[in-house]
Structure formats: C-alpha cells, structure tokens
C-alpha cells in the first residue's frame, strides 16, 4: 500500500514537472506559427531601422532625439515556466516583460493572470531643452490575458489595471494574428488595438506646471487607443537558426500626439536578422 502510494506520488510529480504549458505573448506565437507550449529561449540579432517619435523614449541624442535611427540590435528573449507560473520577455512584444500564472486552458483557449509592463520607463529630462521634464518610471499592470486559437488565427485579449499605486489606470487590448505557410516560409500578420485610460496617458505624456519650459507647455492628456499593424516572414536555416524579417507600424493616439513630448503621429520598426533557438 505504502509502495503504491509512493509510486503514485512519484508519477504525480513527474506529470507536474513535465506538464506542457502555457500561452505566450501573441507576438511570439504568431511568429512561430503555433502556440507556445513549453517555454523558449532565443538569441536575436537584427539590423533595424526604426522611429519612436517621443522625446527620450529610445535613446538620448543631442539633436533630433526622436528622428529615425538604425543599427545592429542583439539580445535574448524567451519565456520560462515553473509549474503554471511563467515569466516572459518577448522581443517585439507590446509588453516589455510579463509574469503570471496560467489559470485555465482547453484545446482552443488559455487564460492567464499576470503582471506586465507595457510602456516602460523613459527619460525625457536627459534631452537638451527638456531638462525640466521628470523621468517616467516603468508601469506595472495586473490583469487577465486570454488567448484563443482557431486554425491559423490567434486572438489575444488583455485587461489590466495599474498596480503601481499612481492612480486608477486601465489598459485593454485586442490583438488578432494570422499566419500562413508559403513553402518553407512562414508569414504572419498582426493587428492590435490597445486602449490606455487617461491616468496612464497623462502620467507618461502630460506636462505639469513644474515641468514647463520653452519646449513644454502644460498639457493634460486624455485616454487614447494605440493601433499596431505588423507583417513578418521567417524561414528556418536549420534546426537552430531562423532568418526573420519584420515590419511594424504604430499609429499613436491623439492624446499622445498632442503632447509636447511627441513629434509625430507614426512610429515604426523594420528589421531583418537571424535568431538562434536554444
């Protein structure tokens, strides 16, 4: 009896440790043309040409700090899991990182509770002419993410509330991805709408009286919707290396474009590179 119990416990532990997993960020799943089920780690290397027209958001340059830039980018991204808990940092995702717990799943849907950082920190005060503007700390939303799979389509819905204690900010997102195969090429398209409540937009893009300068008038931001479209293609070079090319265009909401910290309506990122899959 005791021996049978021990064996049962042993197998239970084995099953729990080897249990397949978890929906990842849609950006990764749509690029690999399949749901992520076991975690991953990838080395990324690409040549990129991009623009984020927000002062101090990407890098600090003495002149034209939000003009297009380009160059070689390298990094690691991945998703790690333990039981039903996960941590992910996905290159090209709408979130800088996320961690949470997978609460439910069936053959076509998965639901996770998670914390995520969607905007991140940035430092407009380091740009000449904007020294009066305070640094913006990273955000952290707590919420729910549901992912639904149907043939070659993935829909991901997110709802998050601010968990930094800075207000009652809300983020809600809808993303739709479609992937298809053209011989050994894997193509994908992604369309996303992301709503940010006024509390969040104002924290990042508003200007209060203490920040006023010649460049920055007082500005109180309202809520807004960020629209994102992405198209990409990838082909395996062998079992470990994948060639990728990607184009992403973001249309910033009016409440962000009207900010003194923003210099254009559109943001974009074009890249071509290779990934190594560990």
């Amino acid at each position: 009896m005791i021996q049978r119990t021990v064996i049962l416990l042993f197998y239970s532990v084995l099953v729990m440790l080897s249990a397949p997993g978890h929906a990842a960020d849609i950006s990764h799943e749509i690029r690999q043309s399949a749901p992520e089920t076991s975690g991953f780690l990838e080395f990324t290397s690409d040549l990129s040409y991009y623009r984020v027209p927000i002062i101090g958001f990407v890098e600090t340059r003495a002149t034209n700090p939000s003009d297009p830039a380009g160059g070689l980018r390298i990094g690691l991204h991945g998703m790690f899991e333990w039981r039903d808990f996960f941590f992910e940092a996905v290159h090209g995702s709408s979130s800088n990182f996320a961690f949470g717990y997978n609460a439910w799943e069936n053959e076509r849907s998965r639901v996770a509770l998670l914390f995520s950082s969607q905007i991140g920190s940035y430092t407009p005060g380091t740009v000449p002419g904007y020294v009066s503007v305070r640094d913006r700390d990273a955000d952290l939303q707590f919420g729910i993410r549901s992912t639904h799979y149907q043939d070659n389509n993935i829909v991901q819905l997110e709802l998050g509330v601010d968990s930094t204690g800075r207000g009652n900010g809300v983020v809600a997102a809808w993303q739709f991805g479609h992937f298809w195969q053209l011989r050994n090429w894997n193509l994908h398209a992604l369309l996303g709408l992301r709503y940010f409540s006024a509390d969040i937009v104002d924290f990042y893009f508003g200007i209060d009286e203490s920040e006023v300068s010649e460049q920055t008038a007082v500005y109180q931001a309202d809520h807004g919707v960020l629209t994102t479209a992405e198209f990409g293609a990838a082909i395996p070079l062998n079992e470990k290396w994948v060639f990728r090319t990607n184009a992403t265009v973001d249309r910033l909401p009016d409440s962000v474009v009207d900010s003194p910290l923003t210099q254009a309506r559109m943001a974009y990122d074009f890249s071509v590179g290779i990934n190594y899959i560990f």
Partner: protein, 130 residues
C-alpha cells in the same frame, strides 16, 4: 531439446531470408538528406537529388515508400540521378530495386524531416487553483 534448437534455427533462417538484401557496395544517396520546417507537423519543401551507382548494367527503378509505382526507372544503366520535389511532413524513404524483382531492395536512403519549434499538443480543459 534438439527439437527446440531446430525450431530456433529454422526461425532464424526464416528471418534472414525475409530480410531485404541490401548490398554494401551500392551507393544510393539523397542530397540534402534533411528538410527543416518551422514547426513539427508542417509540410517541408526541398529539392532533393537522388543518386545511385555501383551496380552492373541493368534495368533499375527508384521506389518511394508507400507508393506502388516507381518514381523513376533506368534502362541498361549502372548509375542514375533524379531530381525529386520533396514535400512531406514526415521522413521519406527511397528504395532502389531491380525492375524485374521490385520486392527486393538493393539499397535504401532517407530524407529526414526536422523542425525548429516542437509544438506539443495542449491539455484538455482544466481549472487549476493555487
């Protein structure tokens, strides 16, 4: 005891006789011998060159596993090459046979399908509590 030994020898002989005759000096190759798809289960596409040599002149045929008709046949040749447009989600095996004895494999080679991402099946509906 003797009867049992005889039975074993007979069984061994039967197994040896049933085993396809594959000569070591016949060279049958597929190049490339691996096709890599993005994920498990996808159809993989590859232009494959299948070559053979090392036989006396004769009529030989290249067979693809699970297919009744020959992929290609050569008349009075001692070597051959054929281009094959590989399209498969699974490994494929090529077999060289004599045209007048197609059930006997003279040589075999394979093209393996590999993949980058191993997409496993997901669990059935489950609610989990902390």
């Amino acid at each position: 005891m003797t009867a049992r030994l005889s039975g074993l020898l007979l069984a061994l002989l039967a197994v040896l006789m049933c085993k396809p005759l594959i000569a070591d000096d016949i060279d049958l190759t597929a190049t490339p011998d691996k096709c890599v798809a993005m994920r498990k289960g996808q159809i993989c596409y590859q232009h494959v060159t299948v070559k053979w040599q090392g036989l006396g002149a004769g009529r030989y045929c290249l067979m693809l596993d699970k297919q009744v008709t020959a992929l290609h046949c050569w008349d009075n040749n001692n070597s051959g090459t054929v281009q094959y447009p590989f399209e498969s989600a699974e490994n494929l095996h090529f077999t060289l046979v004599a045209a007048d004895l197609p059930s006997v494999a003279l040589a075999r080679t394979s093209v393996i399908v590999a993949w980058v991402y191993n997409s496993k099946s997901r669990r059935r509906s489950t609610w989990r509590l902390f």
